[in-house]
Structure formats: C-alpha cells, structure tokens
Symmetry: C2
Subunit: 481 residues, 2 copies
Amino acid sequence: MFYVAAILICLSVAHTGGTHLLNPRFPRPKGPALKPQYSYDTKYFTQPVDHFSFTRTDTFDQRYLINMKYFEGTGGPIFLYTGNEGDITMFCDNTGFMWDIAPKFKALVVFAEHRYYGESMPYGKDSYKDPEHLGYLTAEQALADFARLITHLKASIPGAADSPVVAFGGSYGGMLAAWFRMKYPSSVIGSLAASAPVWQFEGLTPCGSSYSIITEDFQKGSPGCETYIHKSWDLLTQMGQTAAGREKLSSMFSLCSPLNTTTDVATMSSWLLSTWFNLAMVNYPYPASFLEPLPGWPVKEVCSLITASSNVLEGIAAGAMLYYNYTGQAPCLNIEESAVSSLGDLGWSFQFCSEMAMPSCTDGVHDMFPLQPWNLTTYISQCKSTWKVTPRPYWILQQFGGKNITAASNIIFSNGLLDPWSAGGVMESLSDSLVAITIADGAHHLDLRSSNPADPQSVIEAREQEVQIIREWLQDYYSSL
Amino acid sequence: MFYVAAILICLSVAHTGGTHLLNPRFPRPKGPALKPQYSYDTKYFTQPVDHFSFTRTDTFDQRYLINMKYFEGTGGPIFLYTGNEGDITMFCDNTGFMWDIAPKFKALVVFAEHRYYGESMPYGKDSYKDPEHLGYLTAEQALADFARLITHLKASIPGAADSPVVAFGGSYGGMLAAWFRMKYPSSVIGSLAASAPVWQFEGLTPCGSSYSIITEDFQKGSPGCETYIHKSWDLLTQMGQTAAGREKLSSMFSLCSPLNTTTDVATMSSWLLSTWFNLAMVNYPYPASFLEPLPGWPVKEVCSLITASSNVLEGIAAGAMLYYNYTGQAPCLNIEESAVSSLGDLGWSFQFCSEMAMPSCTDGVHDMFPLQPWNLTTYISQCKSTWKVTPRPYWILQQFGGKNITAASNIIFSNGLLDPWSAGGVMESLSDSLVAITIADGAHHLDLRSSNPADPQSVIEAREQEVQIIREWLQDYYSSL
C-alpha cells in the first residue's frame, strides 16, 4: 500500500499547485442510506482481466449482489445496475427506485460491481500498484464484464434464459448504462441513464457549464448567496497571507490541522470549491446521507447561514460546518477530506487521467468561483507524472460516438435541473426511443432514490414516465418472441 | 523468424494428426487481379497497440491505401474497405466494385489494412513471436483502428470533415464491416458486408452446412462429380497403405514431394479437401485469379475432368491439376500449399484459436467428405498447445450479439448461393435496414469484384440494389444535416 500512499500525496500536491486543474468527482455514497437496508445475496463471477486481447490469461472475481425474491421465473425481467466507481453495496443501498419498482415488474435485481472498486480487484492488493496492473480499469472492459455476467445469469438461473435485461445506472454508472445499450444491445433491451454526463467531454460541452449551474443553485438557495461565495475566494487568499490570518481561519473553520502555509490555504480553497460542488449534487428535498448527513434542501440551509452572517468568511465557515457537521459528530473539519481519500477516489482519478478526460473550468464571471481554466496540455502532463499513463482525451468520443448517437435506441437520459452534471447530459430527446427526461427540482440522480413523502412533483412524474417506458420496452420484447 | 517456422511445423502436425479439426480459411487473394491495377497512395497512421487498456504505450503504423481522384471535397462520401486477414493491396486489387462505383459517388476511396497483416505489424518481425506480442490481434482492436483512422481522415483531408463513411468488406472483412456499423455507428453510416459468415459461430449454424453447399456446387458442376469425390477418400487411403500405392499416387498427382508415409497420405487428403473448399469459393463465372489462375466456372471445368475419367483417383488428379496448374506454370503440385504457408494464414490460425472459433465439420452423409466431427474440447486443447492461448469460443456471440442484432441498422448482408460461407451468413432481411441480398449464381463475394461481361444477371441486380441502398443512406445522411 506504500505506492497508494505515495500517489495520494502526489495528487494532493497536484491539487494545490499553481497549475491546479479542476477534476470534480461524482458523488460516491459513503455509507448506507439513512433508512433502508435492502436484502441480497453476495456472489462472484470470474472474468478475464482483459477481454480484448490474448496477451494474458489472468482472471478475477467480480462481485455482484442479487435478489431473487420478486422474480417468478419464466422469463421475467432482470434489472441490472451497472456499477460505478465505488463499493457496489453503497450504490445498492442508495438506488431505492430499482427496489421500489422490482416487485411490480417481478424483476430479478442485480447490482454488478465495477472492476477495480469495492471487492472486485483484478490483482488483489496489487491492483493499484502500477499501470501494468491498473491499466485494465477502463469503461470498455467494465462493459464487457457486464455482458459476460448477463450471459452467466441467464445460463445459470432457472427461468432466466429468455429474461429481458434492463440496465440502470446513475452518474458514471448512468454513462455505463447508456453505453452498455449502445454497445451491447443484444444484452439489454434498454437503459435508464440517470444524471449521466455522456457529453461532458472535449469539445462537446463548455467546460464551465456545471459551475454556472451550481452558481444558479446557490442563487436560488438564497439570493446573494452566490455573491458571498464569489467574494470569499479573495478574502480567503488575503487573510491566508499572514500567519495571524491563517490562525484565525483555522479557528473560524474549526480545522483539524491548522493552516501553516499559503499552500495550505490554496488547498482549503480547493476544498471549499469541492464542498459547494458536492452540496449542489446532493441538494435533495429531504434529509439524506449520500455524501454527508444533511437536512432537506441543504443548499438553501447552507445559503441561509452564509447570507445571515455580516462577515463573509464567517458565513462561509458556518455553511461548511453545516455540510460537514450537520449531526454534530465531527469534532473538526478536515480540508483533505474532499480530496482523494479512498481507493474509490483514487480509481476515478486514474480513469480521469486515462480515458475519462472530462474538462472542467471556472471563470468567476459566469460562475461564483475563482478563475481556473482547463488546459489540455497541463492535464496530459499532470496525468503522465501522476499515473505514468498518457491520457486519450478524444478516445471516448470515438468509442461512444460523441453527440452522434441517434443510431442507438431505448435509452432514457434523465437529468435534474439542479444537478451540475446535467450540463453534460442529454437534455432533449434525440428520437422516439432516446428519451430525455428533465426533473425541474432534481439534484444528482434524485429519480434513482427511493420514493419519499417530500418528493417534488417533478421527480414523481419522471419516475412514472420511466416506469411507463420500461413497461413498453418489455411489452415490445415479449411481443417479439 | 525461427519461432514462426516452428509454429508452421507445429500446425502442419496438428493438421495431419488423428484428431484433425477442420479450419477452412477464407480465400486471401495471392496476387493482383488479372486485369486492373488501381492507383492509390500508400500512407500510414499511428495506432495504439491496445485501445482498451493502459498497461502499455506501444504504437504501430497502420498502412492504408487512399485514392482522392474522384473526391470533390465538400462532404462527399468516403468509401472505406475494412481490411481482413492479408496484405491490403491484394484486397484493394480484388475489390473492383468499390472502384467501379466510386466515380459515380465522387467518393474518396480508402483501403485500411488489418493489424498483424501485410505491413501493419505492431511489433515488426517480433509480432508473431509469442502471445505477449501477438495477443492484440483481435477483431475488436481492428475495429478500433478503423474508427481512429476515420477520425484522422476527416480531420486531415480538406472537405472531408463532414463526409459520411460507407464501409465495405468481404469475407472476414465483411464481418468486420458489419460489426463496425454495429459497434461504431457514429463512424459509418452503413456497411456492405459481402459474404460475411457472422453467424458461423458455436450454436448459431450447423457446423457442416458449408460442406453441404460445396457438395451441391459440385453436383451442379457435373452430375455425379460429388459421388466421385465421395468415393475418392477411401480409395486414397487404401492406395496410400503401401509404398507402391504411395509411389503411384505421387506420380498420378505429380506431387513435388513423394508420399513417404500414411501421414503424408492423410496430409494429402486434407489438402484435397481444402482444394475443393477453395474451388467452391472462387467458382466465378469468368476467368479470374483470386486464389489461383482459373477458367470461368471452374467447378464445372474440374468436375468435367473428374467425371470424364474411368478411374476415380485419376479423375481427381486431373481436377486438382486444373486447379493448381491451369496456366501450365506449375511443374508439380505441393500438398503443403493449401496448408499454413504464409503469415496471413498464420494470423488467421491464431484468430481461429483465440476468438474466431468458427465450427466446421463433415459427416460424409450430407456432404461428399470424409467424417470429421467438430469437437470443442479438442479445438481448445489443440489451440492451447499450438498458440499458448485459451480460446474464447463464446465471446464473439457476446460481443456482437449472435443472432440478436436487430438493434443495428444500415447493413447489407450479401451472399452468393454457391458460396460455402453463405451457410453462416444472414440470408433473410432482419428489418428494413438490415437487408439480405442473395445472389443465385454467386460464389464468395462475387459482388465485390469489378463488373464483367460474363456477370450473371443475379450479381448485376445485386450490385444495383447495393448502389441504390448506399444512395439512400447518403440521402438520409445529407438530409439530416
């Protein structure tokens, strides 16, 4: 694990250096949802490490979670969650929509873990050792895992041989769900790609769009909130110039480790930026614990604190405190926390540096953030030095068609208008069977969460439409038999 | 090259052993077509050896041939031949159809070489050294090469940025053309897959079907011809039991190397079987030189000689002589010739042993051949011992959908009814845009050859239909802009 630790340090440095590039991460749930624990069996399926060449014969066990309670056999549907960058049990616990509708559809429920996350490590503790071991962490390999797993399930589960499979995924998992239907239409009859920024790639979407959305979210949360945040960056930098200022900031924000240098202050600035990004993603209408335990409509709550303060930085500190310490359990705030802090984040950092080159930038004009341009050359050189890999920033466009995807069919692209990632999503239907659903009051894949009394009408309607479309896919499938 | 030579010997042994498995190869043209030499520039494009992982940074130069004579820029079409298992110049010279229609369409013509063939060697002379070097010889990697090449062409050729691309391919190249449209629909608006046995895989097509078609071909060539051939195998084996018999056979067939053992006789038997398979594939209506220089309707010519003889084996010898020595240039016949004899054949042998597990068998009841069953276990163990790779006999089904391909669009599957490989082809249209065209008097991808005064009406009509469909694809594309 020494190498992993070294990488962590290395990334932190890269984050705080002068040529810092934004690399917002998708939210990965850190723990089970507040309420439910769904029941499932944990199983494993042996996969080749490399599906696309024959240079090696290595295999690994992919974990998947399965629930057969509602499945009545005889060709009933299989609902497959295409796991994203994290422990699959967390996605399982936080994707209540599948659990809510499975009984109606008498569906077999499967959550498939993404290679190199959770327990699905191709080379055990050496998986992250070097590019030789880690290089098989790609979306294409993960999709091939899903295809082989489906064949295995159909072949081994009584009554499932002719079962139609519907894929579900949120965030990067939603991108995988969409791409899975595009690349393996014989494996899945359709996919629900929730909050999937499939167009957040070079040349397809302006790099700053998601930050404009966050800014709007905060403006809506409490008018003027975005102005306070906009002002905070310079104030923070100014106060951070002196030892006395840094001491004051450390105390004001109850930091676990005091700020010792201006580099620490820059790290704090990045941490705050990530905090607001994360907060916008999980701006759910009811108390939830996806990233952190939070109240309902947390952006509004945080903004109330920010705008109520007569001192900008004190307001910001109160807002950060609410985000990180809503339950009162955190004795102090850790500015390293939103940075790379787990294998899940580490894996995504590698994916970002290899094929998931998703440009991100801020300009302080169209958004409330400090200027941080996107620079492809910097990105490539930083990735080379961090991961010893050469990114392929255009490959995803070639592999999955960029904006030219109308040859595909049976994909629902759902996006919440509050979600920063909706900027890179498919926001308008592209054909009768490539359907965009927008959720006015939705943050990041709200529709995939279980139903809640506080659900706004827009997500209720979105889910109804999704169920209706899935029903039509199934009808088409069964009538074609 | 020592290793290559060792493999060649190894394969020959496998071919003549008791557990011999049929592995008919697609015809690869051995030289330029009789008449034309088309003009083109030869270029190279740098490709990653591995598109789907990041374990290495190796690259190689893919060769492609390009003709810009008819292209008038401003978004005119690109006709791309998706190269198969051999030197691309040979496919270029033998795919006259593309050259015939390119002027009408004002098309840019490109022939892209398949990795590990011709000059497109990922590791130079070490490319075939071991699985570590050779393992990147897969269809998926080849398709990715084509996709990246298209992006490069569009980006670098003035007026081609918005050019629609139509893919063409015959035989394995036809399989690639079809799969290319399935997997990369944003790269090509449609594909003509000529004589592409995309369903000649485990469980999709009976393994003996192509041999039944050959038998019918010979029966049509001259009634009773198939009976002579059917009888020949036992006679050959019997005569080959004794030294005197082998001497007589060696003389009768003008063999370059005399038959010394019964193993040699078994090799000769395999050679004859391949000879009839090859002859059926190139049973063109006019003199052609695809595999060997041959007269028009060569099956008929060969069968005339076979049935005219009062002695079965003498008739067979006369038929073989016509096939291998029509021009009178061959001083003797070489029974190793139809076996692995070039890197092209070697490459296909590897592909057959890794992912292109295309079952093949004879039973002597539904065909005129000796009994040779298909045995998956034997296949796997032979491939392991020959190539040190473990075949994935079901992978192509999972990767490309098996018979469940109706989610795809804009593919023409053309097949000649005389062609043995039509057994594994798509013989009926699957939808409005997955169109099957059958050519009653066509052998292996006759439609891809240049027009000829001796063309039967069926191929003339097939080509007209193909041109019409391509025109519709282009119209749809331009009207969507």
